[in-house]
Amino acid sequence: MAVRQNQANLTAAQKRAFTDAVLELKRSGRYDDFVTTHNAFIMSDVDNGERVGHRSPSFLPWHRRFLLEFEQALQSVDSSVMLPYWDWTRDRTASASLWGADFLGGDGRASDAQVTTGPFAFNSGRWAVNVRVDSRNYLRRQLGGGGRPLPTRAEVDSVLAMPVYDMAPWNSQSNGFRNHLEGWRGVNLHNRVHVWVGGQMGTGVSPNDPVFWLHHCFIDKLWADWQRLHPTSPYLPAAGTPDVVDLRDTMKPWNDITPADLLDHTSRYTYA
């Protein structure tokens, strides 16, 4: 059975298999397609118009589908690879093994935030940032540079306790679980982690940093955890909502999958 693991528990061989597969997607050009797709939605998802990937109820199913597509791409390179997740409530410092040279590489250097260790360092010759918003073509990080620490387990639990999935106006101002998890409101979980990593992770082209996938894998797991805590709380909205993906509306850019199709992840993978 396909199991997504906590990255802290991966063996050296599993870490290597993951980063090798990521590097192969980069080499073939497929990786950058994911960055481009993500940025297109980041720029077009708006609070007062159509919104699919972000600041809307479909934030969670959209990223679930996006991660599945990426995971399948990894598996086309190496069928043994599954996405790992980063539990940032536990691995909360720049010295965590996540940032080791044998996995994602470390913090950016002081002068220009350039990552200089690990497989995604620009000097390795295999990781140029091509889809970018500014002239710098190297991976950057400023771990903790935003000044605010990563979310705590207590903060996560306070959001998981919210019984209603989402509420009108179904955007960045909404009350409810989805928006508190996404982070436009309240304690701020998902957005804050992007800011904590810094560099490309804080921008519209955040998937340039491979930690994007491990962060969103944990967000996906938290959605599954919330479902287990609130088995009678449905995805909302159900139907007839302008500009927003209802339960049985298809989602761009795939146009063949709905939130309803993605509510139960267990046929595709489970979390350890």
Binding site: G147, R148, R185, N191, T203
Partner: protein, 140 residues
């Protein structure tokens, strides 16, 4: 730039934002609007300052900030682009994609996961993040 410097610079920017909010009150904007927080909390004071910006949009600005020219202004009529705001921001003449949130706060493509009270604050934050680099149109 050291982190300490970056953060103290951001705090410096906050002072300006707070002053702008105060000015909003003085100009007779509804107090509730001028004093309203963004409802967001990203741990950066610059983000959480009262949304002094009415939905009609903020005024133009043009300044040099840490050696970069930043300016912003309402777009010409009909200038909405992909549903975004009718307001454009530039750093050294290159457009910085910005977007207004429902609570009237702003984000930019350079700082996309934290909110700012005004487009000027978003532009200043982008200057710090760019560390001298030029904005480029996103390759698609």
């Amino acid at each position: 730039m050291s982190e300490l410097t970056r953060r103290s610079v951001l705090r410096g920017a906050v002072t300006g934002v707070a002053a702008a909010a105060f000015t909003g009150v003085a100009l007779g904007l509804p107090v509730a609007l001028a004093a309203r927080g963004t409802g967001n909390d990203t741990g950066n004071d610059i983000d959480n300052t009262a949304g002094s910006v009415p939905h009609t949009g903020p005024e133009a600005f043009d300044e040099t900030y840490r050696g970069r020219r930043i300016h912003g202004a309402p777009r010409a009529a009909g200038g909405h682009h992909h549903g975004g705001p009718g307001y454009a921001v530039f750093v050294d003449g290159k457009e910085l994609h910005v977007m207004q949130n429902a609570d009237s706060s702003w984000i930019s493509v350079v700082n996309h996961y934290e909110t700012f009270a005004t487009p000027r604050a978003a532009a200043r934050a982008a200057v710090l993040e760019l560390q001298g680099a030029a904005l480029v149109p996103v390759a698609v």
